[in-house]
Amino acid sequence: MFKRLTCIAAAALLALAASPVFAQGKEKVVLLLNWYVYSEHAPFFLGKERGYFDQEGIDLDIQEGRGSGVTVQAVAAGTATFGYADVATMIKAASKGAPVTAVGVALQTSPMSVMGFAEKNIRKPADIKGKTVAVTPGDSMSQVWPLFLKKTGLKDSDFKTVSGDAQTKLNAVMTGQADLLLGYVMDQAIKLQDATHKDIYPIRFADYGVNMVSSGIIVQKDYLKAHPDVVKRFLRAATRSLEEAAKNPDAAVDAMLKANPKSGVKETALVGMKNTASLYHGPDNPKDRPLRVGATNMDETLALLVEYGGLEKASAGKASDYYTNDFLP
């Protein structure tokens, strides 16, 4: 009896001794997304399935978010290790003191667009005249919208506006209460298509000289200082994931749907993934690997935020305060 007890004790001791080694080998990391899973997030599921993160010694846990703002706050407070969130939103939070920074920018061309059913034949800004546009007050698109209007010579009085939350915007267009909504080409466009099986035509802000970086990977500044190695490993795996997803969108969408069967429909999610990959480069760095953002692009984003995005000039600082490419492969 005594012998058996010592045996158990010895085994327990061994297990204890072994566990820190194990923990060192595998870093548990939480990636908090900006929203419920949809095609834009497929690369991370592909990377997880293919073992890119495992190979870097990272045990990745992907969690769904409830808006970029909340994701930024959670990362700033240390609740999540990494966040996948709108970088413009992060800049606003950082200028208010949130200790976060972007370590990689995924979408470097703006996915923002104003979209409606293709059958309504609204294909250029002038077609918006006399129509009704659904917006969500306070979100990033509603703030850049005035700049789009200015660049395209439209006035507020040229069209009607209705405001509502994310779901209401979709409902309004589906029921005909609005002709158009402000949305992302790979998000709302796909959702509308899934729900109605009708084609959507998005007028992209980026095509009319309104460009702004969008989703990126953000991390708490203290964490970056304490664990630069983990961040580097994570970003190596993330870069591989994005590259592979761009080359093989089919596999990326499959991986996402396998992990999250409710996150979409194969055909449209595939379109969404392809649209996402087409935004991986900015106008100033068409050849860089994904996540590596150009300095001009970030400068322009910041300038836009100061002018239109409700960012105070006094606390804005400079673009390099908000991002770094140093931890990318």
């Binding site: 700033a76 003191g97 703030q143 209460q177």
Partner: protein, 274 residues
């Protein structure tokens, strides 16, 4: 003994009386809470993007006052609209439930069931059904404000003293007279309790409606503040919202005092004032 001392019973000093008057007490508590809030932020180094300092909220409240006032008008309208609808539907329905066991057995369980449906989940549909105007907000306010009125009105009418009803019957009072002289006055305190709960919930309902789809109102302002990480503005808007709730609550309280000055719940105020 000094005759003057007996003529005027020993009273607390004037500042003490002012300190303990009914109006000052809640204000004191609010000030205390503000101090605790401020201290907590300083002691635990809570950053302003998580919780703003009370001072920054007050500043925002002052500088944004015209806008807050403007946006509070549609919210108040929607609240009052929903509240009026709650009364218009709630009290008659409660009467029928209280006086008919058949109706009660059919309707009451369904009513409780409907109350457990989270309003925020179906609120987007109100916009689909009723558009972007004031109607979806009024409906949302009604959905939240309706139930407490029904429950407390039913309870009020059911707890009328049966001896009094027997007395009325023995004196050959008509049904209408019995209702007007005995049932209604005895049910009024419960009804008012329900109205008070209802008005505070109606404010919440109106804002839920505004969150989901609206071009104006405190809920709309809250969304904008949230999008800009403007937490002081958000808290200022919440303060205004709560103030609307308090004002409406007090208004009902005043009506209650006028209508049932005889009720036990009103008596202690008389003692306090004396």
């Amino acid at each position: 003994m000094n005759p003057r001392a007996t003529a005027r019973p020993p009273q607390r000093a004037r500042w003490q009386r002012v300190l303990l008057s009914a109006w000052v007490r809640p204000v004191l508590l609010v000030i205390l809470l503000l101090v605790v809030w401020d201290l907590a932020i300083r002691l635990f180094h809570i950053p302003p993007y998580l919780i703003p300092s009370p001072w920054s909220v007050v500043r925002q409240l002052v500088s944004e006052w015209p806008r807050l006032l403007k946006e509070s008008i549609p919210t108040t309208y929607a609240t009052l609209g929903g509240f009026a609808m709650s009364i218009a539907f709630g009290i008659p329905m409660a009467l029928v439930i209280a006086y008919s066991r058949t109706v009660e057995s059919f309707v009451y369980p369904l009513l409780v069931f409907s109350q457990s449906v989270p309003k925020i989940a179906i609120a987007p549909l109100f916009v689909v059904w009723f558009g972007f105007g004031i109607v979806p907000k009024v409906i949302a306010a009604f959905m939240l404000g309706f139930f407490p009125i029904v429950v407390s009105t039913v309870m009020g009418f059911k707890s009328v003293d049966p001896d009094m009803l027997d007395l009325a019957r023995s004196m050959k009072a008509s049904r209408l007279a019995t209702f007007a002289r005995i049932s209604l006055p005895q049910a009024l305190p419960s009804i008012f309790a329900g109205l008070k709960v209802s008005i505070t919930l109606a404010v919440v309902g109106a804002v839920v409606g505004e969150f989901v789809g609206s071009n104006s109102g405190i809920g709309y302002l809250l969304q904008i503040a949230n999008g800009n990480f403007d937490l002081p503005l958000m808290f200022a808007a919440l303060t205004v919202l709560s103030a609307i709730g308090v004002v409406l609550f007090v208004a009902i309280d005043v009506v209650e005092r006028l209508m049932i000055p005889w009720h036990a719940s009103q008596r202690h105020d008389v003692a306090l004032a004396a």
